[in-house]
């Protein structure tokens, strides 16, 4: 396969691979690093590629190895079991679900929906996702119970999901 085509193929799988990496490590930056490393390895091993193979699972295997190596070096256990993720990986991380164009549309809609959230809720997800506050730290910071944070997080995500759906339905095309 031509180097350019191979690069394109890697690019097609990049985001679904990021989803897979994120599911394994639950940290966006670590996931990005893992995917970057996996793609570099895959690029270096492009001579091993043959079209009959399941490219997605091969890439996931590389990410998994990168992750396991990292986990081992830090002497800790992975959160979600690799078996579970691997068993349902084709279903959950199909590249079709992560295609560039629908992804960008959905992301734009999500950005709009975030702006529609109440200021308190916006602050809450910003503190959790952007600033990395755990639920327990959030609960201490806000003077609420961890359970309250859990429920609030769920409601925010549910509201965002509904809003995105509506936005995409009414937007032309």
């Amino acid at each position: 396969m031509e180097a350019r085509e191979y690069e394109k193929l890697l690019h097609t799988h990049r985001r679904s691979l990021l989803g897979y990496a994120f599911a394994t490590c639950r940290n966006f930056h670590t996931a990005e690093d893992m995917v970057q490393e996996a793609l570099t390895i895959a690029w270096a091993k492009r001579s091993h590629y043959f079209p009959e193979a399941d490219f997605g699972s091969w890439l996931r295997a590389i990410v998994r190895n990168v992750w396991l190596r990292q986990v081992r070096s830090e002497s800790r256990r992975p959160d979600l079991s690799c078996e579970f993720i691997e068993q349902y990986a084709d279903e959950m991380f199909a590249p079709a679900q992560y295609e560039e164009s629908p992804w960008q549309e959905e992301k734009t809609a999500l950005a709009q929906c975030i702006r529609k959230l109440e200021a308190r809720d916006r602050r809450l997800i910003d503190m959790h996702i952007h600033q990395g506050y755990s639920y327990s730290r959030l609960s201490q910071r806000l003077g609420r119970t961890v359970n309250w944070v859990k429920v609030r997080m769920f409601r925010i995500r549910q509201a965002l999901g509904t809003c995105v759906k509506k936005t995409l339905e009414i937007s032309p095309g």
């Binding site: 994120f22 349902y88 679900q97 992301k107 996702i129």
Partner: protein
């Protein structure tokens, strides 16, 4: 219909907020129920999207048409602002004009010059006023920094940045996903970074280099950037051919990493590898290799090692002029600093066994010999620590030197035929680890300084003894 408590657990699971047991239980439930898996997968997608959005607050840079439209709008707005600005400025030139409110400079995490060798200077923001840098000077985002023949170490948020000679760089804050991160905009020269969690990014005209807990060297010269990694790894991405400038200058102190036009392909350079990156081309495949880092070692404090006749001879060679007259013998051991005055018995005082680029200096004292300070080059440096408010005295016997320049940090700088020199140590230097005095021979022939005495008043450490038959001078 899925039970709300299960949905709450799914969201918490995606956020990594479930205990291992709770997670196993959820996995079990999801394994049995495809609907739960679908919800989990949707939530995971949404979470990833949120992370992407929050990691990149600014719109993506390479967004062709939209970007061009935006640029036209911005140019028009800038022109309008310029016209408005000039009119306001002209209108307000009389008494009672409105005060200009300046934004405070962006603060980098404690950017401080901790070590300086030779001439190093910096300029604040866009000003053209260059200030000679001194150890302890604080730099801010937007400041430019230049080493000519000198070199320096800069500490920033736990990272140590070694700056080689002939380097020009600018310190910037880069808007990253989790707040500002330090960004070095390297115009030319070389930096070596020991990154202790601060993740100092480096930008050159060729690309962007992002470390992952690492030690690495970036050298920009001859239209390309060479990156060598000693520990950890570095992601290198080349700039697109279009990106003509080293950094987007909209706000000179802060850069949005997302706005730097980079090529899609990134290369991970692992420990023991190096890669050459040039603008407009994919980074070269990392190859095993190192770059010489002797200059970094020279900037580090010399490790304590015993001073013996042997080490002196090894450092300078038996026939070296530096040791002439001091009759150093390899068998001498336990050489140490002595208090002011003649060293008793065979005590031998040595001090300032340092290397400064090509210049090696040594000061050797022995009760029967003249204390020598000799330099193969032209610059002598006296280093000491001053614990209390003190005066620092030097007695030099310059031989064959027509002129000497003494530079004491922020106190005096003078040119003359110096013999007795007594400095007041400025208050702010008292208690500092090292005070440097540079003695520069302005004119040749070969500089050999015979030093009778180095005395730090009110301070225990001093090296020196008189020449044979001559008592070393002391300064009251």
């Amino acid at each position: 219909m899925i039970d709300p408590s299960t949905l709450i657990r799914i969201v918490a699971g995606v956020d990594g907020e479930l205990s291992p047991e709770e997670l196993r239980r959820l996995e079990q439930e999801m394994a049995d129920d495809p609907e739960l898996r679908r919800v989990f997968s949707d939530m995971l997608r949404q979470r990833l999207m949120l992370s992407e959005l929050m990691a990149a607050p600014a719109p993506a840079a390479a967004d062709g048409a939209r970007r061009r439209r935006l640029m036209v709008l911005l140019a028009a707005a800038a022109a309008l602002l310029l016209v408005l600005g000039v009119s306001i400025f002209l209108a307000g030139r009389g008494p009672g004009r409105a005060q200009v409110v300046r934004k405070p400079p962006v603060e980098l995490p404690a950017a401080r010059l901790t070590r300086i060798r030779g001439e190093v200077r910096y300029a604040r923001g866009e000003t053209q006023t260059w200030t000679e840098a001194t150890e302890g000077a604080r730099l801010r985002a937007g400041d430019r920094f230049e080493t000519r023949l000198g070199a320096a170490v800069l500490e920033m948020g736990g990272a140590r940045i070694f700056v080689n000679r002939s380097t020009r760089l600018r310190l910037l804050a880069a808007a990253g996903s989790s707040g500002d991160v330090p960004l070095l905009n390297l115009a030319v020269g070389e930096v070596y970074i020991r990154d202790a969690g601060a993740r100092v990014h480096v930008e050159t005209a060729d690309g962007l280099f992002s470390p992952v807990g690492t030690r690495f060297d970036v050298k920009r010269s001859q239209g390309a950037t060479l990156v060598a990694v000693e520990e950890g790894s570095v992601y290198a991405r080349a700039k697109t051919g279009k990106a003509a400038r080293a950094s987007p200058p909209r706000r000179p102190s802060r850069v949005n990493l997302e706005r730097i036009e980079l090529m899609e392909k990134a290369v991970r350079i692992a420990a023991g590898q190096l890669s050459r990156v040039a603008r407009g081309a994919a980074p070269g495949a990392p190859a095993p290799g190192h770059v010489p880092l002797a200059w970094v070692r020279r900037l580090e404090p010399a490790p304590a090692r015993p001073i013996t006749g042997e080490t002196l001879l090894a450092d300078f060679g038996a026939g070296d002029r530096s040791l002439r007259g001091s009759r150093v013998k390899a068998s001498w051991t336990n050489l140490r600093f002595t208090k002011t005055g003649a060293a008793p018995g065979k005590k031998f005082a040595a001090r300032a066994n340092q290397y400064l680029g090509q210049h090696a200096q040594v000061m050797v004292a022995h009760e029967d010999s003249i204390l020598h300070i000799a330099s193969r080059g032209m610059t002598l440096r006296v280093r000491c620590r001053v614990d209390r408010k003190a005066q620092l005295g030097l007695y030099l016997v310059p031989q064959g030197i027509s002129e000497l320049e003494m530079i004491f940090p922020r106190a005096q700088s003078a040119v003359g035929q110096w013999q007795n020199v007594l400095f007041d140590v400025p208050d702010d230097l008292v208690g500092r680890d090292i005070v440097d005095i540079t003695v520069r021979a302005v004119a040749a022939p070969p500089p050999v300084f015979l030093v009778d005495e180095i005395a730090i008043q009110n301070h225990a450490v001093s090296a020196g003894t008189g020449a044979a038959g001559r008592k070393g001078a002391e300064y009251e």
